[in-house]
Subunit: 429 residues, 2 copies
């Protein structure tokens, strides 16, 4: 069995939908109105329905000021959402007639399921600006509704992929029930497609207010702590649905919250690791900050610095760039407003792969250290040839101590490679 | 005559130092303490002295919280500065003993010139964290001081280069005198080396307060309006020196300010255009903003978006990403605090190469538009093979109208190419 098959077999073992959910997927072919001359495109459709008696749905959507029609509708329908209809290939963002198109799809799904139009949550991922092939999509919906079942969610994880290298699925059993989730978003390539889509399902009954709280916390320490290229998409969404089939024992809150965090954390790391472009995952932990926001700004500054990212891609332990990025992050207006002025370069310390490289205002570098760091970077490099499975589970660890407080955070990012440029220079062909 | 020779001949015609200045350059070889095993490195030294009776020097240095020893000393010595000593190859940032090293060099220059140690402004560019070869540098200084002359500044522009593809020099004659400048900083590759160095020289007498004001204005509309990869270096500096030899006619202020702006603007555009990585220069103008800062945030957001940059590199008119980047820039905390909330996606418009591609909340795209835009991108692409001269003087023009006010700005940026990753993945070898 190859590594791809092993990975899929492993996912399959954890892929069963929680009780009270069913799903189906299909593919259609279409010719985009915007490129009428070319060969047909393929689009996947995935449908997940919560069939329980007491469904609770919560979620978060992108903060980008320009959003796709599906985001507008999903925001409006969120509280009553019992069905998810997802397509890849076209994101339906600012396309002429985009709202009407999305509404037509919701109406058709609702009619086939005999539910209200307002119970349908649409999500689209792919090219911005193009129109959905509504006719072809609607024609496929009756069959999609008919064939859904409470089986494996792996086909859903696969259907929502665009340039994702491998499907992303995670689950935890907790309090007699299950929390499972699928995600779409291909590391550095993700915002490319302008979408990170994350769907979590649980059969555990959780009151709306509490589910919303758990989701908020879990997102804050997972998807809000990854950074690929600093671009926030027009379609990002994280949806959490409870079918309410299983009543958890009282006092389970903490465990359910933990399971949500675990599932989101695992999916978030895969979003960074995924994608042809990513060769190293960077884990930047920042401690000693006077507040959480400053820790976050510094961590983001380091993992988003193109100079740090390219050096790591090249297995070049150019630690000067890390310190430059920290200094730059600390000099920003916002950073200065929240206490960066009190952080002195002399109290900063920076470690890479557990070796202190900067402390007391100077670098601690020599040929031996450089060799150790180069080796550590090389060891964390993913196999370029992995197709359909994650290249490894290693990270390049950067630890920054600001020496100015007790707050800390951890940010995951990716390097900047030829593969990223390649994927993104000509994405739409 | 090849294009490189034509370019150099053209610079040479404008390269004569203003009255009251003299310069000299030299090269040394050294073995870095941090890489004792390899072959020797070459370092250039450049010296410029203002020999006039009434020298006035003003300048600005990086806001990065971590700065090199030369920046610390130059800040301290700025007001009395009459001599500039510049080296490439090593930036002397956070190197052990870096302050002592820089002071030793200043002391040696001062002794040779018979001026005060506090009259010397040091500047270093290159690798962060390594030590300067002080012994070899000091040994070369007596000869450097001896051979300086009021001739061409082109050797200075060449000596301060690191991975710069071509020397950058600009000048204007104004009010009977000259404003000329040289710059170092290789487009996307520049912060790589962690340095943009800019030195302007004029023989016109300008009182300190006014020269400082002119410099502030000129920097604001030139170097503060370019963005390469969002990283601000530990060594950036812009120094303006007046030798005071020529008394300008009264009422010349506006013309002198104009000349400074012109020279800095020309140098700033070359900093973006320069460097192996850059294949397109992006000119993003933002109008209709409720204030200048919001225009700036949006423009920076667009030219810094890796997704916009890679698409432009690939000559792919993926205008969806531009709108995504605008929406993302408008959603930031700072943007929202200064009025972005009042900008509605429906009033936004975006034009690329003078063609409206987004207006009234929807894209205006069809196969014909795509073809026109692709052609425009291709036409603006620089020849990859240019070595020693700028590849062209074209720009990719993006025009964003926020429809919410009267403020405007213009930001220059560059695309993101394989060349950038290549240069930066293994810069130090």
């Amino acid at each position: 069995m190859g590594r791809r098959e092993e990975y899929l077999a492993d996912l399959e073992r954890r892929a069963r939908l929680p009780a009270g959910f069913s799903s189906a997927t299909t593919s259609i072919e279409f010719v985009p109105a915007e490129r009428p001359a070319g060969s047909p495109y393929t689009m996947n459709l995935a449908l997940v329905t919560a069939d329980g008696p007491d469904v609770v749905t919560v979620g978060r959507t992108t903060r980008n000021r320009v959003v796709g029609a599906p985001v507008v509708i999903t925001r409006r329908n969120l509280a009553g959402g019992t069905a998810l209809i997802v397509n890849n290939r076209i994101s339906n963002v600012a396309a002429p007639g985009g709202m009407d198109d999305a509404e037509t799809i919701c109406r058709t799904v609702a009619a086939e399921l005999s539910i209200g139009e307002r119970n349908v949550l649409p999500a689209s991922t792919g090219i911005i600006g193009w129109r959905l092939p509504v006719r072809e999509m609607c024609a496929a919906l009756p069959d999609l509704v008919r064939k859904r079942a409470n089986g494996s969610a792996l086909p859903v994880a696969q259907a929502i992929m665009t340039t994702d290298n491998y499907p992303k699925l995670a689950s935890r059993t907790v309090c007699g029930g299950t929390v499972m989730g699928v995600a779409k978003g291909a590391g550095m390539i993700e915002p490319n497609l302008a979408t990170m889509l994350v769907f979590l399902f649980t059969d555990l009954r959780v009151p709306r207010g509490r589910l919303d709280e758990f989701a908020e916390e879990a997102i804050a320490t997972s998807f809000n702590r990854i950074s690929v290229d600093g671009d926030q998409s027009t379609s990002d969404m994280v949806i959490v649905m409870s079918s309410g089939v299983i009543e958890p024992p009282s006092g389970s809150d903490e465990q359910i919250a933990w399971a949500l965090s675990e599932v989101m954390g695992e999916l978030a790391e895969h979003v960074v690791r995924n994608g042809e472009g990513t060769r190293h995952v960077i884990r930047c932990s920042v401690c000693g900050a006077p507040n959480a926001e400053l820790a976050y700004l510094v961590g983001k500054g380091v993992v988003n610095s193109p100079l740090v990212k390219t050096a790591i891609f090249g297995n070049d332990p150019n630690v000067g760039r890390i310190v430059m990025a920290v200094g730059d992050a600390l000099s920003g207006d916002r950073a200065m407003a929240i206490g960066a002025g009190a952080i002195h370069p002399k109290v900063l310390s920076v470690a890479v792969a557990d070796r202190i490289v900067y402390e007391g205002g100077v670098f601690h570098l020599d040929a031996a250290t450089e060799a150790v760091l180069s080796d550590a970077l090389e060891a964390a490099m993913m196999d370029e040839k992995c197709r359909g499975y994650p290249g490894n589970d290693a990270t390049v660890d950067i630890r920054i101590d600001l020496g100015g407080g007790t707050h800390r955070t951890e940010i995951l990012g990716s390097d900047l490679s030829y593969g990223y440029v390649h994927e993104n220079a000509d994405y739409r062909t």
